[in-house]
Amino acid sequence: METKIRDKKGNVPDWFTPEKLEEFRPAIEAAAQEKVDRLVAAWTPEFRAALRKLRERKTAP
């Protein structure tokens, strides 16, 4: 696979550090979970069935 990386972490904003990310992580996770829960709540039974069918097709011998 071709790999071209535009940025090598040289432009990270001053305020950001991996430690900050760890500190923020619970809030990030919670916000993402809230959004995902909202999206998933709107999934119809037909969509869920289609997901399962795709999985079965993939795992079929």
Binding site: K9, P13, W15, L21, R25, I28, A31, A32, K35, E46
Partner: protein, 150 residues
């Protein structure tokens, strides 16, 4: 030719990635793969991290590097799936314009990643192989069989 993409760092069993979007300004982007109540099905959340620790998951940052950002997300999906080989990843567009953007990006990435990934678009509730003359609001991505070595 495939777009350039940003180097990502990952956390937490490949469930969270971050990278710096360096367009008009430098923005920390976070990609999360969140499990759903469906077995081994994950939804993607992509957001801009703010200095106060909040994350804007519906941001249109208009940073001038959309192509690179979407290409980075595509690589993160492949990386995630290489670690969760039976998983299905659902991507949902929040608007028609974003759906079109995703579709263009997916089509472009398929040149590179099509050997590794299976992608279905959902029109209403029926999955179908992506067609360029149709717009899809949801995409489901999984790893192709026997494509674990790359």
């Amino acid at each position: 030719m495939n777009a350039a993409f940003y180097e990502t760092e990952w956390y937490s069993e490949c469930l969270m990635f971050w990278f710096t979007s360096t367009g008009k300004e430098s923005i920390i982007k976070v990609i999360l793969f969140k499990p759903t109540e469906e077995f081994d099905v994950y939804e993607i959340a992509l957001g801009d991290l703010n200095p106060d620790g909040s994350i804007d998951l519906d941001a249109r940052s208009d940073n001038g590097d959309t192509e690179e950002v979407l290409s980075t997300v595509a690589k993160a999906v492949l990386f995630f799936l290489s670690d969760h080989i039976e998983a299905q990843v659902v991507i949902e567009a929040s608007s028609d314009s974003r759906a079109r953007l995703y579709q263009i990006a997916i089509k472009k990435e398929m040149t590179d990643l099509g050997n590794y990934l299976v992608i279905y678009g959902f029109d209403n509730e029926n999955p179908e192989v992506l067609r360029s003359d149709k717009n899809y609001k949801k995409f489901v991505i999984s790893l192709k069989e026997n494509r674990l070595e790359f």
